[in-house]
């Protein structure tokens, strides 16, 4: 399934229209990584989402645009790989804003938006992880 708004190039409302996790993409990844690997990669992905929240907060407090751009770029990559379209879109906007040297206020608000999308994504991935682990223990 190809969503034209996946890259977040359109109006903000499209971000909200996306799902937190795109099941089509994520289940393809789960199939592709093969049996027994799913939980491990999900765990890493959840950890990465959570770590990025911390990195963003710290970079915002120091107004470090370079770090913001790098974190946004990384978040965009992982989110597109695992199918987290809202994160991917918000990350893309932040990255572009950093690249085009947008006003600090705008960058800070886009970073805040990205954090707001990272949190539910991390929660969602953790819950899928626990389902997967329960299934393993059965």
């Amino acid at each position: 399934m190809k969503n034209p708004q996946a890259d977040g190039s359109d109006a903000p409302v499209s971000v909200e229209a996306e799902k937190v996790i795109d099941d089509a993409v994520l289940s393809q990844v789960m199939r592709d990584v093969g049996e027994g690997q799913g939980a491990a990669v999900l765990l890493l992905f959840a950890g990465e989402l959570e770590r990025r929240i911390e990195e963003l907060r710290e970079a915002v407090s120091r107004s470090d645009v370079d770090v913001l751009r790098r974190v946004a770029h990384g978040a965009k990559g992982s989110a597109s790989t695992f199918g987290a379209p809202r994160v991917a879109a918000a990350a893309r906007r932040l990255e572009e804003a950093c690249k085009s040297a947008a006003p600090a206020v705008e960058i800070a608000s886009l970073a805040q938006r990205l954090i707001e999308h990272l949190q539910p994504a991390a929660t969602e991935v953790r819950s899928r992880l626990s389902v997967l682990e329960e299934a393993d223990h059965v």
Binding site: V29, G34, V41, L44, G47, E48, G77, S78, T81, F82
Partner: protein, 486 residues
């Protein structure tokens, strides 16, 4: 054994996904979280391909790619790019990436791309090996496929991509300038200038100005500022021939230039910086010169980074025939003569002779034969006496001019008529070829106000040819003077 893939990716989650994809396809995976780590891993183990994320902390993906290519590595690199960054992908391919995959990609896509890249790398390696084995009988302007020359060709090829100084040794006439030119042609600077200076051909003051240039008024006759070879060679290769003849004071200046890439024009305090690759050559034993205190040891070690020794012609087996045939065709064409071959006996004489003046002597002998004789086959009696006597000469390694004088003056000597063939034509009613050549060259130099480099460019020959010829004329003149005194 499974093929190994080096995965350079800073995101642990994505790295885990790609690793799982690759392992699922039967590859073993070496992981690196940064470009530096990746390059280190490549030093430690062989891999069939590299999967490289372009966005990395520390040194970026493009730089990793460039460093890999600078090592002239054949390992194929597949880069991972983001959706919407087509420019990055094409830039990566321009820098030598085998292919790219755009995020997000699934396992099937990665399998196909990596598989193709590995096959491409294997083919490239195979071609390299075959080329190495395939014995070449031509390399740039070199002719000859003998084993010692194959080794020379290989060293030239492997030395050319770097900026390291090359030190060419070999007897007179073995092709040191051809070697320097081949290095230049094979190098990434091949579109830049190739400037040759013969350090033996000019007095000390002039040679410094020839290399580094001078400002107006630097010395008598310096009526305007002039760029030297070091400036002219900017972005290209500077070839310093007969470096063993350079005096110690100038050696100190050259050392500073080699160390810093900077120099001063004669008479100027201004430092000029250029990007030049230095190739130098000598027909002397450089270490012996160091021992005798005639060559600075520190300069020797600065210059002697990649040594190339050119074998003398007598050690090159059948190359002598190959080269002689090439010269025969060229001379016959230029002189409008019918010569097409050497007789079997003549070829044997070419093999037996020791060629103290090496390829240059061979060229002169062939030219001499073509100018003075007619026919389709070159016969033994047509050779100058030195060759015809089959003397396995003792004066190996003597400067070329002596040898040339010998062969070129053959009409004055009694013709050796072994097989009773035609005597040499008395061609002295017209000017000797060397005299015609001398006049043409001297008037060109005059025309350019004494600038040898420009004269050489206009004559479409290399400056060192002019220096060499001037030296030969001088020695010829000296020899004539001595004879007259007697």
């Amino acid at each position: 054994m499974s093929e190994a893939i080096l995965l350079i990716e800073d995101s642990p989650a994505q790295a885990a996904v790609y690793k799982a994809y690759l392992e699922g396809e039967g590859y073993s995976v070496v992981m690196a979280g940064s470009g530096e780590e990746g390059l280190r891993a490549l030093e430690e183990r062989a891999v069939a391909a590299v999967l490289l994320d372009l966005q990395l902390p520390g040194i970026g993906g493009f730089e990793v790619l460039e460093r890999l290519r600078r090592r002239s590595s054949r390992i194929p690199v597949v880069v991972v790019t983001d959706y919407g960054s087509a420019e990055n992908a094409s830039e990566a391919v321009r820098l030598g990436a085998a292919d790219f995959v755009t995020k997000p990609f699934d396992r099937g896509r990665l399998k196909v791309t990596i598989g193709n890249a590995i096959r491409q790398g294997q083919l490239a390696t195979m071609v390299d090996k075959l080329q190495e084995k395939f014995s070449r009988d031509r390399f740039h302007r070199f002719v000859g496929g003998s084993a010692p020359m194959q080794a020379v060709y290989r060293v030239i090829e492997s030395a050319a991509p770097s900026r390291a100084t090359v030190f060419i040794t070999g007897e007179s006439g073995t092709g040191k300038e051809l070697c320097a030119e081949a290095i230049h042609r094979e190098s990434p600077r091949h579109d830049g200038p190739f400037i040759a200076v013969n350090c033996a051909a000019l007095p000390r003051d002039l040679i410094e100005s020839e290399i580094f240039g001078h400002v107006k008024g630097a010395f008598t006759g310096a009526v305007r500022q002039r760029d030297g070879a070091a400036s002219l060679a900017d972005g290209g290769t500077l070839f310093l021939d007969e470096i063993g003849e350079m005096d110690l004071e100038l050696q100190a200046k050259l050392l500073r230039f080699v160390q810093t890439g900077q120099f001063q024009r004669v008479g100027s305090g201004e430092m000029i910086k250029v990007d030049v690759r230095i190739v130098c050559a000598t027909n002397r034993d450089p270490l012996e010169q160091v021992r005798q205190g005639r060559f600075r040891e520190d300069l020797y070690y600065r210059l002697h980074v990649i040594p190339i020794h050119l074998p003398p012609l007598r050690d090159r087996g059948e190359d002598v025939i190959d080269i002689a045939r090439q010269f025969l065709a060229k001379s016959a064409d230029e002189e409008g003569k019918a010569f097409v071959r050497f007789s079997a006996e003549a070829e044997q004489m070419l093999r037996d002779y020791a060629w103290p003046g090496n390829v240059r002597e061979l060229e002169n002998v062939v030219r001499n034969v073509v100018v003075l004789h007619d026919g389709e086959s070159v016969l033994p009696a047509m050779f100058p006496p030195a060759v015809a006597r089959r003397t396995l000469s003792n004066d190996v390694g003597e400067p070329f001019a002596k040898t040339e004088a010998k062969s070129a003056t053959s009409p004055d000597e009694p013709a050796v008529s072994r097989a009773g063939t035609e005597p040499p034509v008395q061609a002295m009613t017209v000017l000797p070829l060397w005299e015609v050549e001398r006049q043409a060259i001297e008037s060109a130099i005059e025309r350019f106000g004494g600038n040898v480099l420009r004269a050489a460019a206009a004559l479409e020959i290399s400056p060192s040819t002019i220096y060499r010829k001037r030296q030969a004329w001088e020695q010829r003149r000296d020899a004539t003077a001595t004879t007259a005194d007697d």
